[in-house]
Amino acid sequence: MNYSRNVLIVILVGMSLIASFLAWRNITSPTDFADLRIVLTTTTTAFGSLLGIITAGLMFTHGKFSELASELGEKSPDYLSGDLSLERVQTIGNNLLALRKTFSLLETQTAVEEERNLYRRVVEKTSLMYVNLAVLSDLKLIQQGLVQTDLMISAMDPQLYVDYREERSRVKKEWQILATAKRIVDTWEGSRTLLLEKGEKRTSLHRDLRESISLLGLKERLDKNSNVRTETGIIYNQLSENLDKIGKQLRQDRIHQLLSQMENANTIRGKYFYLALAFIATPLFINLLILPQLSAGTASFFQPIISITSSLSVIGIAFLLVYINRILKV
């Protein structure tokens, strides 16, 4: 896939260069009125054809997006009544809050920067997961017609509440429930392999906690007066059991792939919408402004503009190739 993408980029750059060269030649060489009229008509036709293909592609992408959205929308009620039951959501929430409290305290107690960073990562990730969990809990209560409770919100500090409001305002569609659940699981699991991570890659909460527990074990040997490790270990096991179940179900239902396909389709839909606009605007500009004014007398004045629009149509073909390549990946 990378190879074909590289080929397309080379084609795109090559065509742009050729088009620019041709445009430059047209500007510098004398061209008569009849030739310019033919160039304009051909350019307009090319733009029209490309617009047709882009519109068809956009419709296809939008159709694919809606199809995926409805597939995910159909699955979300099952999740909310099963794997994301209220009891489980509340247990996970309590565990996350307990971890957040413990590691915030540990963070303030250490003077070693590396250790502080490890604990800070745990605090950040537990906060992020808690916020997403609170959003899920809220959506669940709304969807099942249950009475709203402030149980999860009341446990938030002001910053956490601001993050919650922001996250909650982003979730509007039913399928986004599963995207929220995936974000929780992704924060927990991170990479599925136990690779030795290089540089500043994002680690998973799962890994940060395991390492913290091991580190607390070492500190216990040194200080012999701490019981944080045992308590954290118990919470870690409970969290692991609950989140692993959710993660397993999400993978079984291919939610990760479906969401990634949706994200792809959404990006293409957004990005190429503007391309379609450009392909609508340029022929209009030619037909309404240039063509009526074009005569033997104004030919030399309009020549550079015509050269640019004709080279744009060539560049458009290259864009179209990239577009088709992206659509085929959705």
Partner: protein
């Protein structure tokens, strides 16, 4: 449903996790003690990982071939690339291109990294010799990675008894 070897290894390595060396070294440096405690913790973790690996792979023979198999499976499970260099009845040698010590901060002196490298590797060697071979074994390594090299050679061999 029966778990695959890969899944069982992942679960085993998840259960027994090393403390992160990039965090441990600055802590122990600051405390000015703790090498022995770290060594004993590493040995306990290694004993659990090695005995678990033997069970998972159903390895019963107590020889250097078993040692090489165990090293291979454990390193692969960590996503670590390695190359066996030598295997005989008394010696197993392998080359690795990554080690946890490489992820320790640049502000930590190479001599300190080297000292902790000794602590970690000799603990693993002791555990391996005791559990897999039931004999005394030693481990030597050229520490090329922390000196800026691209690969490090680790040799594990049986101690010759007179």
């Amino acid at each position: 449903m029966k778990k695959t070897v890969e899944e069982q290894m992942t679960a085993l390595l998840t259960k027994y996790t090393y403390p992160p060396v990039e965090v441990v070294i600055p802590i122990l440096q600051k405390a000015g003690r703790g090498d022995e405690e770290l060594a004993s913790q590493i040995r306990e973790i290694d004993m659990s990982v090695l005995s678990g690996t033997m069970k998972i792979l159903n390895l019963k023979e107590k020889n250097m071939r078993t040692v090489s198999k165990m090293f291979g499976v454990i390193l692969s499970s960590y996503g670590q690339k390695y190359e066996p260099v030598e295997l005989s009845e008394t010696r197993f040698c392998l080359s690795i291109s990554d080690c946890p010590m490489l992820h320790v901060g640049k502000n930590v002196d190479n001599a300190v990294k080297s000292r902790f490298c000794d602590v970690l590797c000799s603990s693993t060697a002791k555990a391996m010799a005791q559990l897999v071979l039931g004999k005394e074994g030693s481990c030597s390594w050229d520490k090329a990675l922390i000196k800026g090299g691209r690969k490090c050679t680790v040799a594990f061999e049986l101690v010759k008894t007179k």
